[in-house]
Amino acid sequence: MTTPGRTAAFAGHREAADGRPEVVFRYAGDRFLLVEYGPMEFDLQLNFRVLTVNRRLLERGLDGIVDTGPGLRSNLVRYDPSRIDPSRLIAELNDVEDSVPAGAELELPSRVIHLPIAFDDSRSREAVERYARSVRADAPNAQDGTNIDYVLAYNGLPDRQALYDEVLATEWWNAFTGFFPGLPFMYPLDPRYALFAPKYNPTRTWTAEGAVGLGGPCVAIYPVESPGGYQLFGRTLPIYDLAGRNAAFREDPILIKPGDRVRFHRVEEDELERSFADVREDRYEYRIEEDPFDVERWLEHCEAVREEADANRARREAAAEGTPVP
């Protein structure tokens, strides 16, 4: 790994050492510092490191750190320079890195949040139909009132059931939350099911609350009605409620935190609609388990299924090549 360019944005650098990834500190104005981990590669282990170091940093309760925003392989630290000198902040961040050896992230505090999903639901179809009607009729991803057929084509899947099986077969790791309050960016923990889809072009103006979609390698749940760019394939329950109408939202209106995992189970749409109403009436109890994430076991699993994962990836890549991009 070459040393990053020491120009104006450069605030510090740590070589990869003892199994720890390289770290680059970059200025992002005078109130933010961006901490980047490892090479720009899709590697969930970098995210595990981000979340572990982030937790240790926050535990220190340093005066002047306002908050932090983990990304896939980075952490954005917002600070108040009148309370902590930037050079001291960088020294503290280095110190936290020192204090977290490689392997410290082998067991991560995490929860499994079980959510029902109705595939090919009418609200997602409505969003796609509206898009085709009022934004772009010839979008290859929005034909026949659904994005699902496009996702199948792009991933080389034989039928809808195959897509649903993949979504249900893996836990989805919430690497970070952003774009919108409470919106989780989730990645499959089972590498065999690394679905991929290009995003809308241009974006969609309306998405239903609870819609579930795929953009790039990432699955997101829409916390509220909003615009969006992900290919929709189903709908789940509310994951955000400021009014705290359900016990799950009383302490915190945002359900899914970085480092949480989501496991979907399939329901029919009428059952989802009933549960949706029950959530509002506080008659639905979300199933949430404290379940530390065992990285070593995960790595073993990744290794065990590597051949199948590689074959699936090759199938997807071949299919993607012949599929038009929106």
């Binding site: 200025y27 992002a28 980075s74 952490n75 917002r78 952003g178 309050p181």
Partner: protein, 323 residues
């Protein structure tokens, strides 16, 4: 409790505060808050409010309100023709109001874009995630998370003890709002040589860029320009060299969406998959609130950290003069 009655909401009037909604970056919560924090903070200081008090941000103008109790107000920001019961209202000055008084703002022709109405006691809507600032996209804060409209009634906090002593107090010299803005930035986080070429950085700071009419509190879009880019593509993150694996976004970041530059405003997204090539420093970010989309130009001047912090301290000192 006294109330402020909205008789007309104007182009876009929202409840805002300073510094906005902090502490929830990891949950994807944008900071929102007064876009021109300088004028906003001066207004609070003039009427004797604590720095955290919420007030109104009036984009362009058109606001008409009625007070139902005696109080003290200050109007700061873009020059906008304003009348209190038909009499011209001086700007950047603590002015008394009486129960039944009506304040009317016409449309501002600029220069500048936003006026700020500070009211002694502050707008006392409930704080959401620690702030009263309105973030309309997320429907958070202010009144029902939206811009104000006719018929709304805003609760006001109790008038602080010293506010009446401040009547007649004014602030000056007031900031100048040019049509061509010089805005201080720090280069990065994703700049040269890893993402941009040295020539790209030079180009960014070489000339003023027109701010597109399609701009708002979430983002200010700049006229198109072509960067060379240091990378041929975004690698795993996408085909375009502006693509990266998703990072957190700093407020005030100059975000390259492909070859379109968008300055991330206070209501902008907290993260995304595009590079941020430079970031407006806190001591200059207030200018975004006064840049007029479709008319004004912005020129970026690269500064180092020390100059950025000095700029910020200078603003603090000026605001302290109003207190």
């Amino acid at each position: 409790m006294s109330e402020l009655e909205i008789l007309e909401g104007g182009a876009q009037t929202t409840v805002q505060d300073y510094p906005g909604r902090l502490g929830r970056l990891a949950d994807g919560v944008s900071m929102a808050g007064a876009m021109d924090h300088f004028a906003f903070r001066v207004g609070n200081a003039l009427v004797g409010n604590p720095a955290s008090a919420a007030g109104l941000e009036v984009a362009i103008g058109g606001l008409r309100v009625r007070f139902d109790a005696d109080g003290v107000i200050a109007l700061c920001g873009t020059p906008v023709p304003a009348k209190l019961n038909g009499e011209a209202l001086p700007a950047w000055e603590a002015v008394p109001v009486a129960a039944g008084d009506e304040l009317r703002l016409r449309m501002s022709k600029g220069p500048g874009m936003r006026a700020y109405l500070a009211i002694a006691g502050g707008v006392d809507v409930p704080a959401i995630f620690g702030s009263r600032a309105t973030h309309t996209l997320a429907g958070l804060g202010g009144l029902e998370g939206r811009a104000l409209r006719k018929g709304d009634r805003l609760p006001l906090g109790p008038v602080p003890g010293g506010s009446r002593d401040r009547i007649g107090r004014s602030f000056g010299p007031v900031p100048e709002y040019p049509r061509e803005w010089e805005i201080e930035v720090m280069i990065g986080p994703q700049a040269d040589p890893d993402f941009l070429t040295a020539a790209d950085v030079e180009l960014l700071c070489s000339r003023p860029w027109l701010v597109d009419a399609n701009s708002n509190r979430s983002g200010l879009r700049l006229e198109p320009f072509q960067l060379e880019w240091a990378r041929s593509g975004g690698g795993i993150a996408g085909g375009h060299p502006s693509n990266i694996l998703d990072d957190g976004y700093p407020t005030g970041g100059i975000n390259m969406n492909g070859d379109t530059a968008v300055i991330l405003g206070p209501d902008g997204p907290t993260s995304g998959g595009f590079v941020v090539v430079a970031t407006i420093v806190h001591g200059a970010i207030w200018k975004l609130g006064q840049v007029r989309p479709g008319a004004d130009r912005v020129a970026f001047r690269a500064v180092g950290l020390e100059e950025a912090l000095e700029l910020d301290r200078g603003l603090d000192a000026r605001i302290a003069q109003a207190a």
